[in-house]
């Protein structure tokens, strides 16, 4: 059964796009067929992690949503971005959002047909025989986010150890429960090494009555990389990369 995973956070800048790309890499390393979709139409960024430059970018999710192409035509095989070793193991597709100002403002002005998005995802899963569809979202709770939460088999909610994030997550967990998400997992990101991980995990799990799938450390090297690549490829032994691998293993085993 193909699995749809939404990667979301209540507040911005928690590490959603980086986690989406790194998790995709780990899943491909397990021999899976994976697609990542940038549904953050208002502020797209996922394509950057796969080194797709703006000149290279042809058709996008926006073109599909406004009826200018099929969803397959806006989907790119980016397996080679993972390096020759990983590329031999599985397959990775990317469905980017447009970074053209005129396209972004059109979405903000007109919105788009939400049912079209669901149908497109179904088509993508079928055509490319996907095992996993990862959805990178816009932070906060808007109509599209609610929809991607609703159609997800697994919702990964990212939070930082920060009181503002804690409050926002409480709201999001409540919404996810109301939408009857099958599997809800929390990921704590940007955790300082000096924090006691065992007690942090317990605290968060108890507060939201939701399992913490992974605790990922804040990493200076990751900041330095500045989304110019996929960290777990360049630094596979770093605790962040190990944490993402553990998360991938849980995702695969939960299917």
């Amino acid at each position: 059964m193909p699995t749809i995973i939404s990667i979301h956070s209540y507040r911005g800048g928690t590490g959603k796009s980086n986690l989406t790309a790194n998790l995709a890499n780990s899943l491909v390393q397990q021999g899976k067929r994976v697609a990542v979709v940038d549904t953050d139409i208002q502020a797209p960024g996922l394509h950057v992690l796969f080194g797709m430059d703006t000149q290279q970018m042809g058709l996008t999710l926006n073109d599909y949503l406004y009826g200018r192409c099929s969803i397959e035509q806006a989907t790119y095989d980016v397996t080679d971005k993972l390096g020759p070793q990983v590329a031999a193991m599985g397959t990775l597709y990317l469905l980017p959002s447009s970074i053209k100002a005129v396209e972004i403002t059109r979405v903000l002005r007109e919105g788009y047909e939400v049912n079209l998005l669901i149908d497109g995802f179904r088509k993508l899963i079928k055509t490319f025989h996907l095992d996993y569809l990862l959805i990178d979202t816009h932070p906060g709770l808007n109509e599209e986010t609610l929809l991607s939460i609703l159609i997800s088999d697994i919702l990964l909610l990212i939070l930082r150890p920060d009181q503002q994030d804690f409050q926002g997550i409480a709201v999001t967990v409540e919404v996810a429960r109301k939408l009857k998400v099958k599997r809800l997992l929390l990921v704590v990101n940007k955790v300082l090494p000096k924090l006691d991980k065992v007690s942090l995990r317990q605290q968060v799990q108890t507060a939201y009555d939701t399992p913490v799938a992974s605790i990922l450390p804040v990493s200076e090297e990751l900041i330095e990389l500045g989304s110019a690549g996929i960290f777990s490829i360049t630094s596979p032994d770093h605790p962040y990369s190990q944490g993402v691998r553990e998360l991938a293993a849980q995702v695969v085993n939960s299917a």
């Binding site: 139409i41 208002q42 979405v107 903000l108 002005r109 007109e110 919105g111 788009y112 047909e113 939400v114 049912n115 079209l116 669901i118 179904r122 816009h138 906060g140 709770l141 808007n142 109509e143 599209e144 609610l146 929809l147 609703l150 159609i151 709201v171 409540e174 919404v175 109301k178 939408l179 009857k180």
Partner: protein, 103 residues
């Protein structure tokens, strides 16, 4: 509560009731929300499947579905050659605005 007389013809009703948003799905009572969220994932289902989902008899499921149709969350689809209607969710195309958090 539906503002429409249930004796109104189907076609008329569908045109008059606006499509619903995800935020409105969130505000539905438990049983209705169970049907709508499940229907989004299923894409389409018949009465007997909805009754099975709710673990209720078909008459109870029919009452809930009729109400959801009247409220504009769900629409009936009649496929050719099938006597029984099937049900689908009606969601509006909406811009990416924030949902008012009135939980």
């Amino acid at each position: 509560m539906s503002v429409f007389d249930s004796s109104q013809p189907e076609q008329h009703r569908r045109d008059d009731v606006p499509e619903r948003t995800m935020a409105e799905v969130l505000a539905l009572p438990h049983e209705a929300r169970t049907i709508v969220t499940w229907l989004v994932r299923q894409r389409e289902a018949g009465l007997s499947e909805v009754a099975a989902l709710l673990e209720q008899d078909e008459a109870t499921a029919q009452t809930l579905l009729t109400d959801l149709v009247a409220q504009g969350f769900v629409q009936e689809v009649l496929n050719e050659g099938e006597g029984q209607p099937r049900y689908r969710v009606r969601l509006a195309a909406r811009r990416g605005r924030q949902v008012p958090l009135d939980l």
